[in-house]
């Protein structure tokens, strides 16, 4: 654990990407199996130990420190694991009893063996065997998500560099394997045969798009499709099993059981998961709003009622593999032709194809895009006709061309300190609109929360504004004097019972800070409500 903790600390303090790659690669080469496999899992997808959650740590600390002192400390540090690692009472070892920090694999075994109840006594024993750095590494490992500036992709790239293999190949095998990845190390480090994943329903990394921004493309090279407002999914059938994966590669099959018996042949297909309805694109569009789909997300089991009221289907975009044939190196036109030909073998109860949007030229397409808001569609996709299907985002192949965001002027009401890089900065803002005429005494109602859209410089100014204009404190939250206006951008707004205003914005972000605008000139709630398209 000492070496792993030292690696985590070094990564925390390293800015350079190359240096991070070097540090991880060096660790992976120098560390034995299975420790390095567990470490790789922790750095990439994260490990999950159901018995240890943030709340477990909080409860342990409650027995060891006054709760007020704990929460003041946690609020200052902005990270539960780090706060606990610093505040854990260091166990004094007898001189004849040298410290015995556990190895990474021993740590993983002990964590896996814990349940909610035993964690209360077992986790402290582990913490007692470590120093503050070790405790930090342990708690980060145990609660998943290291949040130390290392992405999953970076960890895989470091693995590829450590053993001089191709990172694309690593990606290809990755999702068919489980930590601590013995087959992967055997192949890359020991030169054994690559892992066999052909008969496993594994996830293949998605091809992603860049925002179009100022680029203008020639429609003789690019095809346009609607950008449907659902969730991107990958349907995989192999070895008589079908799975549904989300954009991040999570297996969400259990959430959408109606799709699992519908793919009659082995394939990997890319599409948008939607719920039947008439909001997006009207009768012809055939899809409900994202809001309707949202009711079905994140469920481990689905009721019959829900299956009936909000039936899901997949609007197909692309075909990656069909009956053993890898289509990914082929140009988009060829993959599209194969997909169109496949449609008659797929039940139209659960599949359709994302139709091509025809336009004379780019200007014409721009005019069509203008109308997409009324159709409640996110915008357009532009795909280069000769593009292969490549994992990740490559410049020049696929573009997303979202419709322009909606804008509304809101007043800053509450601010909360951020975490991670922004700990100690008031960086999460709750803002509101007027519930009537502000000059006639109307109040502000919170309508949303945003923590992006501003620069680091602006963040410093906002932090200062919050500190100087605080009228009330509620733990980590400060109420401000409601003197600052934000121009908030958002993709859409929906009815919601969760908020007092009855509205919820989709992807709100700070578009401009209106230091100049008096708060009574901000928008009213009814102006926002008029933008609902459910």
């Amino acid at each position: 654990m000492d070496e792993f903790a030292a690696l985590i600390d070094a990564l925390v303090y390293t800015r350079s990407r190359n240096e991070k790659l070097r540090l991880i690669a060096e660790y992976l080469r120098a560390t034995p199996d299975p420790d390095r496999g567990w470490a790789l899992a922790a750095l990439s997808d994260g490990l999950d130990f159901p018995a240890v959650k943030s709340s477990t740590i909080r409860n342990l600390m409650k027995d060891r420190i006054d709760p007020v002192l704990w929460s003041l400390s946690r609020d200052f540090v902005g990270d539960t694991a780090e706060t606990a690692s610093l505040l854990w009472p260091q166990k004094q070892m007898a001189p004849d009893q040298p410290p015995s920090p556990p190895s990474v694999s021993e740590t993983v075994e002990l964590l896996e063996a814990m349940n909610r109840k035993s964690a209360v006594t077992e986790l402290p024993k582990l913490l007692d065997r470590l120093d503050p750095s070790g405790r930090y590494a342990l708690l980060k490992l145990a609660t998943g998500g290291m949040r130390i500036g290392v992405s999953s992709r970076l960890a895989k790239t470091a693995f590829a560099q450590a053993f001089e293999v191709s990172v694309d190949e690593v990606e290809e095998y990755w999702h068919g394997l489980a930590p601590p990845y013995p087959e992967l190390f055997a192949w890359a480090a020991e030169g054994e045969d690559p892992p066999d994943i052909d008969n496993l329903p594994t996830f293949r990394p998605f091809m992603l798009a860049h925002p179009l921004e100022e680029t203008v493309v020639d429609l003789s090279d690019y095809a346009a499709e609607w950008k449907w407002d659902g969730i991107r999914v990958q349907l995989v059938r192999a070895g008589d099993e079908t799975r549904v994966y989300s954009r991040s590669g999570d297996d969400i099959s259990a959430t959408f059981p109606e799709l699992l018996d519908m793919l009659p042949f082995p394939a990997v297909l890319d599409g948008e998961l939607l719920v039947r309805g008439i909001v997006q694109g009207g009768e012809e569009g055939g899809a409900a709003s994202f809001n309707a789909l949202q009711q079905r997300l994140g469920r481990k089991t689905v009721s019959k009622k829900m299956l009936k009221e909000a039936p899901a289907f997949v609007r197909l975009y692309d075909a990656l593999l069909v009956e053993g044939e890898d289509l990914r190196p082929c140009p988009w036109t060829k993959r599209r032709a194969r997909l169109e030909a496949l449609m008659e073998r797929l039940p139209d109860s659960h599949f359709d194809i994302s139709r091509i949007v025809e336009a004379k030229d780019f200007e014409h397409l721009a005019a069509i895009r203008e109308g997409s808001r009324d159709d409640a569609i996110e915008g357009l996709m532009l795909k280069r006709k000769d593009s292969p299907y490549i994992a990740g985002r490559r410049v020049g192949y696929w573009y997303k061309w979202k419709r322009d965001p909606l804008l509304v002027d809101c007043v800053l009401m509450y601010a909360q300190r951020g975490s991670g890089k922004r700990s100690s900065f008031y960086s999460d803002y709750t803002f509101g609109c007027w519930d009537g005429d502000p000059d006639a005494g109307a109040d502000l109602l919170p309508v949303g929360k945003a923590y992006s859209g501003f620069t680091d410089e602006e963040l410093k100014k906002l932090d200062r504004h919050v500190r100087r204009n605080t009228v009330n404190r509620f733990g980590p939250v400060r109420e401000t004097d409601k003197s600052l206006v934000f121009e908030v951008a958002f993709d859409s707004v929906h009815e919601s019972k969760r908020h007092k205003s009855g509205l919820a914005m989709r992807f709100p972000r700070i578009h401009r800070i209106r230091w100049d605008k008096p708060p009574h000139e901000a928008d009213r709630v009814e102006a926002l409500r008029a933008l609902v398209r459910d």
Binding site: D66, L69, S423
Partner: protein, 343 residues
């Protein structure tokens, strides 16, 4: 007979002593100021009269040219030096005694006595050994006015020897680079240099131009800092394998481009928290502070054992809570203008 302690009034801009008509560490210019130490948030320029230790007065003279003559050829500022252990009688029957605080060169706690009542204003202090100033002395009093910069239980400053070893190990591992240490220009920088010397580091240490005068002032007051060189006078190659000290503000500045591939370090108590180090783009955090950590703060409150503790700048909420848990009377003073971000 007036009410107890009515002769001492915490105001937003400092602590005011009505019978003597003077202020302790006022954050704006006043007629007469008692100053605990030379940091800018305690020692402002522009006072009519300043009562402080000779070292603090020298620091203020350097920073604010308080000894400058005006157009008439007179020195409008009156500097009143008080040695450690010396008591000075102010007007209105108030006595002020300057006692070492162990914070930086010249730093003092000020013991104020009036009508048999004793109040101590600590300014800033620490309880660790520091080769650049005499150690904090525990002095009994009725009201103890303490700082709380690191007033959270997570702050435990490690032994400075460990931090020096970390710095020297990193330096030895990269003979082609330099280690650039960001350290507050008054106090921290000189303490780091003196501690490096104590750890056996004899090589020349390079200084950012803004540090030179303060280092010279320390040397004039008998603190040996070894061979110091100015970055501006040397080439990149000269500084390979060397330690360079600069103010924290210069760490990520264009200035550092003249250095040979610097490893960015910062000497500060805040470095205990990883995200604080990351926000500063620090690669080598050195947990070194001239303020008392949580253990020192609580130990000092216990040892001084005053009837009442007043807590000034910093994380007063947590220290207040501690006092409450330990049945000690305490209140927080809301003083403005104190700044702890660089320590």
């Amino acid at each position: 007979m007036s009410a107890p302690f009515s002769w001492i009034k915490p105001e937003p801009h400092g602590i005011y002593i009505p019978p003597a008509d003077c202020w302790v560490d006022p954050s704006r210019a006043v007629g007469k100021a008692l100053v605990t130490h030379g940091h800018a948030d305690h020692a402002r320029g522009g006072h009519g009269e300043t009562v402080a230790t000779p070292e603090t007065l020298a620091i203020m003279e350097l920073r604010y040219r308080t000894g400058a003559e005006d157009d008439a050829g007179e020195t409008p500022h009156k500097a009143v030096p008080v040695e450690y252990g010396e008591t000075i009688r102010l007007t209105g029957g108030v006595d002020a005694t300057y006692i070492p605080a162990g914070h930086v060169l010249g730093s003092a706690q000020i013991l104020l006595e009036h009508a048999g009542e004793r109040v101590i204003v600590t300014g800033d202090y620490k309880r660790r050994e520091d080769p650049t100033c005499p150690p904090f002395e525990v002095t009994p009093c009725d009201i103890f006015i303490t700082e709380a910069t690191f007033g959270l239980p997570l702050f435990t400053h490690p032994p400075i020897e460990d931090e020096m070893a970390k710095l020297l190990d990193r330096l030895a591992a990269h003979p082609d680079r330099c280690v650039l240490v960001g350290a507050y220009a008054l106090g921290k920088a000189q303490r780091v240099i003196a501690e490096l010397r104590r750890a056996g580091h004899r090589d020349p240490i390079y200084l950012h131009g803004a540090m030179e005068k303060m280092c010279r002032l320390y040397e004039e007051h008998g603190v040996d800092l070894g061979e110091l060189r100015l970055v501006a006078d040397y080439s990149k190659d000269d500084m390979r394998g060397a330690i360079v000290v600069c103010p924290p503000s210069a760490l990520n500045d264009r200035w550092s481009r003249r250095l040979p591939d610097p490893i960015t370090a910062m000497a500060s108590g805040w470095m205990r928290v990883r995200q604080r180090a990351r926000q500063r783009n620090v690669e080598l955090p050195l947990v070194i502070s001239d303020h008392a950590d949580w253990g020192e703060l609580t130990r000092t409150i216990k040892e001084v054992d005053a009837q009442e503790n007043w807590i000034t700048h910093g994380r007063e909420d947590a220290l207040l809570r501690w006092c409450q848990l330990h049945q000690r009377r305490a209140r927080a003073l809301a003083l403005v203008g104190y700044d702890d971000e660089d320590d």
